[in-house]
């Protein structure tokens, strides 16, 4: 048993334990904390599995943003201490939370329900385990083909090449998903910008000063990551997530952030990544001897960088706006 295997087993055990606890712990706060650690363990696993790009993104997204989101939500939906004895029969009320579960049968999780869940999940797991055991142990996937075409992709980092050249369509659509999520939240709220959000200025002056200094640093780091993506782990996602994290920090300390952007500026930032790729798609579709989304070979590198920059801005601003909206203190 090599040390690396021990590490693997420990990490796997930790992942399983944490996820089990976070789903079963009766305390929601504990679950939230466990969720954040789940993200961190996953990031470790990515590093171990030679996927540093994902580790970067996961550390920022899974542990950072998701944690902030969940924690913030938890803080705001958690009832004031001691309500549990107040409404013993509230399940019958029309608008009680019991009417908003995924599955209505869960309204009364009786033995039958637990049985179904247990049997279903166990079957699924068993099948998955069996299937995984049957998988070929030496799959190559598309590594070779990607390596062959890397030269003509315009970048040197294979993951960036896949994301922004070979499978640019996916990336584009994913920016669209991000856009739709924000639009959905906007739609519920009924306003296109964040300027109406109430501000908090609870943070101490020291923290504000500190974060204020951090701001330019965050932008710098994001730009560096962006540039790094050309030839090493890094790129638009990671940069965007870092940018988002910085913007969220600014917002949390009451410093100017996404919520100070006027409507047009905010929307432009949100849509710029999607629109940039759309523009590329339209132009390449119109061009006579080209495929949609095909970079002109001479400009591939610089175009990719430009698109990445646009995507970074979009991802950063959109995620920051989403977090700001989730964490907003509504005064209704």
């Amino acid at each position: 048993m090599t040390p690396s295997l021990v590490f693997d087993l420990l990490l796997a055990g930790a992942l399983l334990l944490v996820s089990w606890r976070l789903l079963q712990a009766s305390d929601l706060f504990q679950a939230t904390v466990l969720f954040i650690s789940f993200g961190l363990f996953l990031a470790l696993a990515w590093v171990r599995l030679h996927a540093p790009d994902i580790a970067l993104a996961e550390a920022a997204v899974g542990a950072g943003l998701a944690g902030v989101l969940l924690f913030g939500t938890f803080k705001r939906i958690e009832p004031q201490p001691g309500p549990s004895s107040q409404r013993p029969g509230s399940g019958d009320e029309p608008f009680s939370a019991s009417s908003c579960r995924l599955d209505q049968a869960a309204a009364c999780p009786g033995r039958f329900h637990y049985l179904v869940a247990g049997v279903g999940a166990a079957t699924l797991t068993a099948l998955l385990v069996l299937a995984v055991l049957e998988l070929p142990r030496h799959g190559v996937g598309l590594t070779g083909i990607v390596a062959q075409n890397l030269g003509s992709s315009g970048v040197d980092h294979p993951v960036t090449a896949v994301l922004l050249n070979f499978r640019l369509y996916d990336t584009w659509l994913e920016l669209g998903v991000l856009l739709l999520a924000l639009m959905g939240v906007f739609g519920v709220r009924g306003a296109h910008d964040l300027r109406g959000l109430p501000m908090r200025s609870t943070a101490s002056p020291v923290a504000r000063r500190l974060v204020g200094l951090l701001g330019p640093l965050v932008v710098l780091v994001a730009a560096y990551l962006l540039w790094l993506g050309d030839h090493a782990p890094g790129g638009a996602f990671q940069a965007g997530v870092v940018l988002a994290a910085g913007l969220v920090l600014l917002r949390l300390t009451g410093l100017p952030s996404v919520d100070r952007l006027p409507r047009t500026a905010l929307l432009s930032c949100v849509v710029v990544g999607f629109a940039a790729i759309l523009l590329l798609a339209v132009l390449t579709t119109l061009a006579p001897h080209s495929f949609p989304l095909k970079y002109p070979s001479a400009w591939a590198g610089s175009l990719i960088l430009a698109l990445e920059a646009a995507a970074t801005v979009s991802i950063g601003v959109t995620l920051a706006a989403l977090v700001a909206l989730v964490l907003v203190v509504d005064d209704q």
Binding site: G139, R167, L173, G176, L180, A181, P292, K294
Partner: protein
């Protein structure tokens, strides 16, 4: 042939434009983009019709590396359906959201989300990459949820969240299948996968997972729980979009997966299982629909029931692997099902749009409030009736064509039990459609209903019955109807009329549909064999 790419680009451009604009311009630009998309669809259809399937490698990267766009007859049919319904929903929405502050608030969100969603739907019908499909499905799902919660009422929020969780769950299960499949084969393109899949366990599990994930999104019976509240709680144009189009996207992918990727793996028992679930959905959904007392919920449950018909196809076509394809009735089952998609898309959108008109006029969607709607809003009632006829599968409508072919296919294939279910489903459909219609015929006030100047005997009898039995205390006040924009009524009516028109033009559609399925046209042989070839 880059026309196919425009089917995605045009709505996306419209969406971005709508996002950045303000005021009424949003609606007009949105409508223009809808019209442009529908217009782009026509030459594309013609192209597929004349020269067969289209394939585009995006970015110039061929299949194992890049993502392809591919359009065959089946995809063309779904594109066409989306274009027709989308355009008319656009027209409807223009009037619907232009009616006052309460609705105008939603307008700047409706259009961009809907257009991007439309692009996503078109993308689903064009995509041949299983991971790309995942992203598209998320796009469609998030867009649909965003539209569902547009009204911001608590009910719609709850329904929307439930819908969101369900659709996320479905996508993740699907993605799990994709991951297994990629791990086993190293491919993502469906045609490459079709060559690579074998009967190994990972492939089977992947097949099951992908099917299961899509079934959750397609709202087949045990997974339908999210559908009725979401579809009923959304604003009327959104309900039309969700019921008419969004549910079809997952079904389309099921078709692709079952009959393109895994045709050799599908076991008859799996097909029968889907068929049984479909049958249960038909019966149970329709029964629930009959029980409802609110119009929009009724229509939403009807969607659960009507979607069930689609799954008979899997039962009919899976026996003996690919062998069923050589049978004459295979193409009949295939075309019948696609026709049902069409009929349901058109009719259900028309129903929801008409229901929206009624809700607007009456201020409520209680069925009991629909007194004398037939007299006061005849066109809307007519729309309800015609769309209902198509749902029931009665002639002359596209629903009849669909049921006809499905029935024939199930009889010809020897699986007659589906025919029984189809017949019973038709009856239940009739029950709820006429439940709606009968409410519209109840006269408003007891006193002037059917009264004649001569105060004839029958009128006298009516007075007694009317006053005693169902007018009750609120007899005096005839609820005023608010005006309904003519454009809304017209859009709904057009859809209903299309239900009828498509029923008369089945030939072209069949020809387009079967272009590249390797199927014989279903009827020519039979036709010539029995009547003699003297007729064209």
């Amino acid at each position: 042939m880059t026309l196919a790419a425009w089917m995605i680009l045009v709505p996306f451009m419209g969406g971005v434009a709508c996002l950045l604009l303000r005021g009424r311009a949003v609606a007009w630009v949105g409508l223009a983009a809808s019209a442009a998309t529908a217009w782009t669809c026509l030459p594309l259809l013609r192209h597929v019709w004349h020269s067969g399937p289209v394939r585009i490698d995006l970015g110039g990267w061929a299949a194992p590396l890049g993502i392809g766009l591919y359009l065959d007859g089946l995809g063309a049919m779904f594109l066409l359906l989306t274009a027709i319904v989308g355009l008319l929903v656009g027209v409807y929405a223009l009037a619907f959201f232009g009616r006052g502050r309460e609705y105008a608030r939603m307008e700047p969100y409706f259009w961009p989300v809907w257009l991007v969603l439309w692009g996503g739907l078109n993308g689903v019908y064009l995509s041949v990459d299983v991971f790309n499909v995942y992203v598209l499905l998320e796009m469609v799902g998030l867009g649909a949820v965003g539209l569902t919660v547009l009204s911001g009422t608590n009910d719609s929020l709850v329904a929307g969240l439930r819908y969101l969780l369900a659709t996320m769950f479905g996508s993740l299960i699907y993605l799990l299948g994709v991951a297994l499949l990629y791990a086993q084969t190293g491919h993502l393109d469906i045609f490459l996968l079709a060559d690579a899949v074998d009967g190994s366990l990972p492939v089977l599990v992947a097949f099951g997972l992908m099917t299961g994930g899509l079934l959750i999104k397609a709202a087949l019976l045990p997974f339908h729980f999210w559908l009725p509240p979401a579809h009923a709680g959304a604003p009327a144009p959104v309900s039309a979009i969700l019921s008419g189009m969004v549910t079809k996207a997952s079904f389309f992918l099921l078709l692709r997966i079952w009959f393109v990727v895994f045709p050799d793996v599908t076991a008859p028992v799996a097909g029968q299982l889907l068929g049984v679930l479909g049958a249960a959905a038909v019966l149970w959904g329709s029964l629930q629909a009959v029980r409802q007392t609110r119009l929009k919920l009724l229509v939403a449950y009807s969607t659960v029931g009507q979607l069930g018909y689609l799954f008979f196809l899997f039962a009919l076509l899976t026996p003996a692997g690919g062998e069923a394809w050589s049978e004459g009735w295979a193409s009949m089952a295939w075309t019948g099902t696609v026709f049902h998609v069409f009929s349901h898309g058109l009719a259900k959108a028309a129903l929801f749009m008409a229901a929206g008109c009624l809700v607007l006029a009456m201020g409520t969607d209680e069925l009991a409030a629909m007194r004398d709607i037939a007299g006061r809003l005849p066109v809307v009632t007519f729309t309800l009736g015609v769309a209902g006829v198509s749902l029931m599968g009665l002639p002359p409508s596209v629903g009849f064509v669909a049921k006809w072919m499905l029935l024939k296919a199930s009889l010809a294939s020897g699986q007659w039990w589906w025919a029984v279910v189809i017949a019973m489903g038709g009856l239940l459909t009739a029950a709820y459609v006429f439940k709606i219609l009968s409410f519209t015929f109840v006269p408003v006030g007891g006193h002037d209903a059917n009264a004649r100047p001569k105060a004839g005997p029958k009128a006298g009898r009516n007075v007694d019955q009317g006053a005693n039995e169902h007018q009750g205390p609120k007899n005096s006040g005839v609820p005023e109807l608010r005006p309904v924009p003519a454009l809304m009524t017209l859009a709904a009516l057009t859809l209903a009329a299309l239900c009828v028109l498509f029923g008369f033009r089945a030939e072209e559609v069949i020809a387009l549909l079967l272009r590249d399925m390797g199927l014989e046209p279903p009827f020519d042989a039979v036709l010539i064999g029995n009547i003699g070839g003297d007729r064209p």
